[in-house]
Symmetry: C2
Subunit: 228 residues, 2 copies
């Protein structure tokens, strides 16, 4: 069985959890706090980043890019890919993934996670402490423009990259679900995004994410509600 | 012929230039200043990021992730890939690419480029002006640890991800070449890195990068010197 080192509010770990579940690949979750920099974990992935998997041949694959393409290569054996279609369709799926994993991550997800989660766990002497509310406000302001873009995509297509659900949907949903856990998504300002998210949230692959519990954080009532 | 929108000191544009040259794919360079946010360019790639290509079917592919995998799919037709080998070898190549494109980029390349290049081009009223030397100092300090890792890889293998040159080498060299243009690589502290870089720099694919000229910046004498 595949072992997945993850942190509950890591958007990249969440994406791989979705991908493995949607692919019906059995996996076991191993909880890892990346900023603890555990020597045994650094020995697996010297970059110290999540996610990391150990596969059935006991080989470790590190980082969201390697793991995604590794799983896609396995899925291609029975043509059940989530990066699929002709070369242009695949490019469109990866373009949206990169938008959210790089741009949205830098302008929104990482700012909010750092202030609200990392600083909660880290000792004050190492840079932890109360969140900077001004940074959270800026991140939420940045989010509006991205939500507009998800609205545009979800209104013009069945799913974000076309008619079928793809890794682009998993990538965007993984980021939003972390922010929703912290009650930081202004759903009232983004009706079409909410409709798209309600659809992906009701898939069996999502149920595991909705059960996550991180000590010190209480999720909003709508977080696990499928009819939110 | 493929058209490539690039900026001379964008590490991702440089990587695609290397990849296209090494693949013997003809291409034409189109100069783009990403922070100008030209409407015609945003119409091609709403994320506003580089690189972007327009291929021979007049289709545009945006972002380093999409373009890399798009070109690899073309190269796979005659098995001349730069992400190659078994599933684990490919994972190792992509792991190193991600390390440099995400971690090194955030901790080193982007800090230095923003202070030295972006702020030189941008009006003072929009956040331009003199570089913050403290940030450059921190980035250079961060670089040491990454150079140690490149040393380790280059000493234990023929190229960074194994016996053959791969996209991992192009990724790392693209970042270092931007920093070397600005004379910010402490070559005297990293002998093995210097030996590896001298080998990749002497390849014909690199010659075009060594001719880049950015007005307002004078490259150090060793930048284009193959026996530096």
């Amino acid at each position: 069985m595949i072992k997945l080192y993850h942190f509950p509010l890591c958007p990249f770990s969440r994406r791989i959890r979705l991908l493995l579940s949607e692919s019906n690949l059995d996996f076991e979750l191993l909880y890892e706090i990346p900023w603890d920099r555990r020597p045994e974990f650094l020995a697996l992935n010297p970059a110290g980043t999540l996610p990391v998997i150990i596969d059935e041949n006991d080989k470790n694959i590190s980082g969201i890019y390697s793991i995604t393409e590794y799983i896609e290569e396995i899925l291609s054996l029975n043509k059940s890919n989530f990066i699929f279609g002709d070369i242009y369709n695949k490019s469109e799926i990866r373009r949206i993934m990169e938008w959210f994993d790089v741009k949205f991550n830098a302008e929104v997800t990482q700012l909010i996670l750092k202030e609200m989660v990392n600083k909660f766990y880290i000792n004050k002497s190492d840079g932890g402490g109360s969140p900077n509310m001004e940074i959270i406000r800026i991140a939420q302001e940045n989010m509006i423009y991205h939500l507009d873009y998800i609205s545009y995509l979800s209104e013009s297509r069945g799913w974000l990259a076309g008619d079928r659900i793809s890794e682009a949907d998993f990538a965007v949903a993984a980021h939003l679900s972390c922010l929703d856990y912290l009650n930081k998504v202004p759903w009232d300002k983004a009706d079409s995004v909410k409709n798209w998210y309600a659809r992906i949230k009701s898939r069996p692959s999502f149920s595991n994410l909705l059960k996550d519990e991180l000590s010190g954080f209480i999720t909003p009532a709508h977080y696990a509600d499928l009819d939110f």
